[in-house]
């Protein structure tokens, strides 16, 4: 149990329903100060709803929520002074320039950074006088970050900060977040990119259908799979997960879309055994790939589904 004052966010038994649909089905979370915490899960898992409850935008149906040691419903304005938020689909006004937009958001806060300082922080110096309508997707995302960072927040909530961005734009967002963390800031983000969670987050909670199904550091989580490699096999004929589970070096088998994924500790011992087993069963090999185990494999292993549907 972590001491409460060290927690930036803590929630217990969080439930949020939309009519009959249960979006969040009892979530416990503790985000430590200075930590980057990721909510990883597919679309519709309940990540955004969880985040919006924590941000004070939605009221929880059940459970307790504390943000920076405070519950929502008291002096919310004072609490909002200390939070930076980036929502998933905000479209800032196309007609305003980058500087005008940041200046507007700066005016809402009593304390904060200077506008030019934030523009530099998000690497938009060259675009400071450009209209928002003329910005690329990556630049818009950095502007959204600037609006979140302008109050110099203790805690930053980010909802899918890099969804839809090309790899280069994603890298520059990551760079900005790493810079923010160096100053001691806390981040709670949602993502459905496992690379993002692995690179940015100290700890990750994997969410599916409104439940947390795994929690830990990315390294711990991958290790919990009990495998270094994942081998994906597709063969014609009678090959069931059970027939391959007993092979040497295999710690688990999951069937996904007509192929089998083997979590493998020692690939050197497995491969010859796998090939002779398939030959014995007269099941010719159609496809065989192998890669290092990732968070994605853990998700597949836990749910039998892919993390990303795109």
């Amino acid at each position: 149990m972590i001491e409460r004052s060290n927690l930036a966010v803590s929630c217990r038994g969080l439930v949020k329903r939309y009519g009959k649909l249960v979006a969040v089905a009892g979530i416990d979370l503790e985000v430590r100060r200075g930590e980057c915490f990721g909510l990883l899960g597919p679309n519709g898992a309940g990540k955004t709803t969880t985040l919006e409850v924590l941000e004070g935008l939605l009221a929880a149906d059940e459970g307790m929520v504390e943000v920076l040691g405070t519950e929502w419903g008291g002096d919310d304005r004072a609490l909002r002074e200390r939070l930076g938020v980036q929502l998933q689909e905000t479209q800032l006004s196309d007609k305003l320039t980058v500087r005008e937009t940041i200046r507007l958001f700066r005016s809402f806060y009593v304390r904060g950074r200077r506008v030019d300082e934030v523009i530099r922080l998000v690497e938009l110096d060259a675009k400071a006088a450009a209209r928002v309508g003329k910005l690329s997707g990556g630049q818009r995302q950095r502007l959204a970050l600037a609006c979140a960072l302008v109050c110099n927040p203790e805690l930053l909530f980010l909802d899918e900060p890099t969804t839809g961005l090309d790899p280069q734009a994603r890298l520059s967002v990551w760079r900005i977040l790493e810079r923010y963390r160096e100053t001691g800031g806390t981040v709670l983000l949602t993502t459905h990119y496992m690379e993002e969670a692995a690179r940015l987050c100290d700890r990750v909670a994997i969410i599916d259908h409104g439940h947390i199904i795994a929690l830990g550091s990315p390294v711990e989580l991958v290790a919990s799979l009990g495998a270094e490699q994942v081998v994906e096999v597709q063969a014609r004929g009678e090959v069931t997960p059970e027939t391959l589970a007993g092979l040497p070096g295999v710690s688990g088998v999951t069937a996904v879309d007509g192929s089998l994924r083997l979590n493998v500790r020692e690939i050197g011992t497995l491969l010859p055994a796998l090939l002779s087993e398939l030959e014995r069963r007269h099941a010719p090999l159609e496809k065989l790939t192998t890669h290092e185990a990732t968070l994605e494999d853990l998700f597949v292993h836990l749910t039998g589904r892919e993390l990303r549907d795109d």
Binding site: L57, E89, T90, L92, S93, K95, L96
Partner: protein, 358 residues
């Protein structure tokens, strides 16, 4: 509270207002509808309804050639009548389309009009009535009736009583309603669909500041809108402001604030532009029709007059006409100002209460 703290508290309001105005002037179409369109409307209506001298009453004579010639001869020299000889079918068409005001039909085949004439005209049109009376008097006189009364005429064509004098204040009122409702409604609902309101809601911004910034920006644009229309009316048609400009300013301000409040109320809940457009039309259409912007609402039945007078646009139009046309002092418009204030304050308070941020 120190001065510095007080200044900081108002800074978000100032920034929101500034941004609101920047967004508006960077939208060329909005500028057109608010400033250019009412001026074009004033030009079109000013020309269509320009005060015509009475001399332009048009008379169609539809008869057999001999009779027609006789009638034309009798009417020649009659003051203020223009006579056109045409076939019965053409005369009928000309009357229906308003090109002639009265048709004179003579059934007699010969030149003497012993069997009399028939006047055909539309009694609901003032010109029709006037033309019938004028033609009748001219014919009677030409055929030998003697006038017993010596009458003198004094012509009055004063500034302040022409149609354009009536129209310009109506256009000012209509424009203040339109730009208040459309301007605010679209801006608020578009910010809602773009999730910008939700983004503002997670900042410590005072929510009342957001709504007040719309009122303030309307106040500043109101000055320009009123100046554009009144200035144009003065330059093009010589429409004068007979009352004080200060009174005109106060009444316009009250109108702008009233419709800004109503605009915020209409935009308080809808999630789509289509949704808010429907509500806007529902709110504005009755006032377009009833509030006397283009013609006097006195023509509506007595029983609906109290309803019409309770509408905010009626109050605004009446107050504007009192100041601009009648030259009344501001104090004389207190009942209109009270109607507007009631609508504005109730709408704004309600909007603040039911406003949907997410």
């Amino acid at each position: 509270m120190t001065d510095g703290a007080r200044f900081r508290r108002l800074r978000p309001l100032a920034e929101l207002t500034r941004v609101r105005m920047l967004e508006f002037i960077r939208e060329p179409e909005a500028v057109f509808w608010v400033f250019v369109f009412p001026v074009l409307l004033a030009v079109a209506l000013g020309i269509a309804f320009r005060a015509r001298p009475v001399s332009s009453l048009d008379v169609a004579v539809a008869a057999e050639p001999a009779a027609a010639q006789r009638v034309e001869g009798l009417l020649r020299g009659a003051h203020g009548l223009r006579v056109h000889v045409m076939t019965a079918a053409d005369a009928d068409h000309a009357l229906r389309s308003g090109r002639v005001d009265v048709v004179v039909e003579a059934t007699d085949m010969t030149g003497d009009l012993r069997q009399g004439v028939t006047y055909r005209y539309d009694p609901t049109r003032a010109e029709g009535r006037a033309a019938q009376l004028a033609v009748d008097a001219a014919l009677e006189k030409a055929l030998g009736r003697t006038d017993v009364l010596e009458a003198h005429e004094e012509w009055v064509s004063r500034h302040g009583s022409r149609y354009i004098d009536f129209l310009i204040p109506g256009l000012v009122g209509l424009n203040l309603m339109g730009s208040g409702l459309w301007g605010l409604g679209f801006a608020v609902v578009s910010a809602r669909t773009r999730k910008l309101l939700k983004r503002f809601a997670v900042t410590p911004m005072y929510r009342s500041h957001y709504l007040l910034s719309f009122m303030l920006s309307r106040l500043l644009f109101m000055v320009l809108e009123v100046a554009a229309i009144v200035g144009f009316g003065w330059a093009a048609f010589g429409v004068r402001v007979n009352g004080s400009f200060a009174a005109l300013g106060v009444v316009s301000l009250a109108g702008a604030m009233t419709f800004a409040g109503i605009g915020l109320l209409v935009a308080a809940r809808p999630k789509t532009i289509e949704g808010v457009s429907g509500w806007m039309n529902l709110v504005m259409l009755p006032m377009w029709l009833l509030s006397g912007s283009f013609f006097s609402y006195e023509r509506f039945p007595q029983i609906v007059q109290p309803v019409i007078r309770a509408l905010p646009l009626t109050a605004l139009n009446d107050a504007l006409r009192m100041i601009m046309n009648a030259g009344s002092p501001l104090a004389a418009t207190w009942s209109q100002l009270a109607v507007m204030a009631a609508w504005g304050i109730v709408s704004f308070a309600l909007a603040l209460r039911i406003f949907r941020w997410t």
